[in-house]
Homo-oligomer: 174 residues x 6
């Protein structure tokens, strides 16, 4: 079995920081399992895009960046809302992995308590790239396309993804 890393994100939307993370991790492991977290959610302010749309963003971005798709598994995993079960949900949806790459304290803690090796994400620059920032710029009509791969910007245009986000932002529903 190849050495596999795990990398969990929500990718709302997928941005250049995510891409750098994937490329960085692939220098350290043979294969990488990218989990699309909160897969069942979409059409909310914080989760505007469906799992299927995020799958397309990721694949398009990896192709654009000429990342070897044969070394990457992209797997949507629905949230279970019970932290004590989330690690086993991830294990059930994915190929076996040995190393969890994360800078997120909760993810770190849960996989650590389950006995996994944890590593920080290489080349991680949260101050420059974050999905929250991209969504904010989309809402304010500021330039956001420089923060994402070109293929992602194209796909967001194709699905009219900025208008959708603006509608979602105007709701007062929970």
């Amino acid at each position: 079995m190849p050495t596999r890393g795990l990398y969990v994100g929500r990718f709302q939307p997928f941005h250049l920081g995510h891409l750098e993370a994937i490329k960085g991790i692939l220098e350290e492991v043979e294969e990488l399992v990218v989990v699309i977290g909160s897969a069942q959610y979409s059409h909310t302010k914080g989760n505007p895009y469906t799992a299927g749309e995020r799958l397309v963003m990721i694949r398009n971005a990896l192709e654009e960046a000429k990342v070897d798709f044969g070394r990457v598994w992209v797997v949507p995993v629905p949230d279970v809302h019970l932290h004590m079960m989330w690690v086993s949900a991830v294990e059930g949806y994915t190929p076996k992995f040995q190393i969890v790459y994360t800078n997120e304290p909760l993810t770190k803690r849960l996989f650590m308590e389950a006995g996994y090796k944890i590593k920080n994400i290489p080349f991680f620059e949260r101050q420059f790239y974050s999905s929250t920032l991209v969504r904010e710029k989309m809402l304010l009509d500021e330039s956001w396309k420089t923060l994402v791969p070109k293929s992602v910007a194209d796909f967001v245009a194709e699905i009219d993804g900025v208008s959708r986000l603006r509608d979602l932002n105007r709701t007062d529903k929970a």
Copy 2:
């Protein structure tokens, strides 16, 4: 099949703005499906009344206003929390409809993406009538009865609905 409109609300409680909306929509369509949204919730600050209690409020108010009950369907629909499935949940619980009446951006967006015709609610005066305002006035012991049909005020009294709201407001539970 008659032309049917759809109108979704939580009706916590049902107020005169809701009644005007229903009367206005019934001038444009043959039948109206009124969906009691978030049907499974009750006994929270924002959702104090059960679906059953809201059913009674709506029927009493329609009777009081002499709206032809034969042209109206009132259907409680539980939330599914996955926006990508909510439209099909509504479709499953209701008679077939063609036009969705809503001023709510998320509802508009979801039914629009599902291919429905969307129209604004006629005679909609959110600044005067809102369930949030009614609940606030109930809590502050201000005059709220002028905002709802008389039969709704009577029913709230019958179920001791203001005391319940006050108890719910004092909890620190999520």
Copy 3:
């Protein structure tokens, strides 16, 4: 508050036995709450029709039979699968009721343990009318229309309900 009876069925589909039951109960109580049970299910062999379709069947049948719709509440209630919670789910979705009409041992037992008065369904002739029998006849292309109100037979035709049942019957999915 008027005296209210409760009558729970799945109505897959609504047949003449259901109609007789409703008419019989309405001779004993002022109002009747008809619960469409298992509301969330459809498109299975045993539950072919959606809650919305069953709502239409019931209303059409009551209109055809000239039953006073103002004395009847028709309310879809999703199953909760935990019997210890089902009674309170029904209570939450419906106007208050005092008497439960049922011949079904589980329903009888659960509402009895919750303290309700239980009565048998008047004019109940299970040997002649049952939804299972109607569905079997639909599958075998035997005459089933005499078992249901005319308006129900018309509605089943309108939604192509027999073909749907046949497709569902041929699946080997659970």
Copy 4:
């Protein structure tokens, strides 16, 4: 059947105020059912410890305080999120009880509407003891051990419970 009281808490963590409450109630009833609420949650800022860990805290604390364990039932009950069903969930998970001890407005309201006798918790001093306060002190590295039974402080140390809370506090996940 003995007279039984019910006492619901989340016990995140169990503190001296909880212990005083249990001792006080046991002076009034023969047996006490202690419900560990929100049992399915753990590893969040507000619910750091699992139901199993909270079971251990309570038993250890009762042993340390020489409370007769034979008069106490400790039962984890998962939240159902539908207030209209919560009382029946509690009833299903516990031995029959007659009196509900609570100072919490929502719990009071729900059990009152279900017909239970409600009493205030004796010796309840929320200003001195609260789980929220204990967790805040843990995060700020202030002295918190005086607020909990010694055996609870020991158990928190054994499971490295303060580090876990700090990790959970640093996440930005919902």
Copy 5:
């Protein structure tokens, strides 16, 4: 931490075989965690009794048999229906344990894959004692009381548990 065994059962109802198992395991470990499985179910043919009723049966039987209650934890755990998460659900609801006692192939397999030590249940005589057999004899009005502890037979009488089972047996609901 003491050596703890885990023993999972549904206890519908608790019988002498269960009691022998508990006594046998307590000869091998310091403490035993007894999990009441399928805790959320009741009022079905195969699961007639609530988790709370089963808690009472077990405690009464242990007292009657003079088993040291201080060495036993009895914990209701709801089913999660996803086998890949069930082990972590059990872990979340219980004190830490090291050895799983089971003769049941699925339980064995799941805890084995999760890395636990598995042992067979000592003194296990399924041919003589089984809950299925007890329920069958209850239904047939055959002598079943010799198969359960006296205190369990008394408690079943107190809750009218045989009548309940007979009602449940006559339903045709799923």
Copy 6:
């Protein structure tokens, strides 16, 4: 957007008939979305393997057969158990598709009612290849490896998948 087909299976395990189906469909469409249905289930007689294990089987088989992985999307989708929502769940988890390939009557009916174009699976030989048959042969220790791609047989050996199935087969749990 490329023309995309959808193909839903449970792949318990993936066999040569599945592979032929995928190759056949890829002759008709530009891209194919392979949905791993019932993704949340594993460790049952009928669903022995996790979604993650099935992902590995499919990828390995496609590589072995030199199918262009860039034209295939493999997406695990959890069941929702409400047929009226299942189509929208699939839509939410997948890239947009236009044609549904299926021979299964329920899948056909549901996607047809949702307005999709339906086609039969090319080269489909259910009499020769079926997962049920493979599992039966595994249990009976008959030759099953000729029914699956070599890489799948290897992977089943790697995860000790036949022993697991045998354990699952011996349980009497639901």
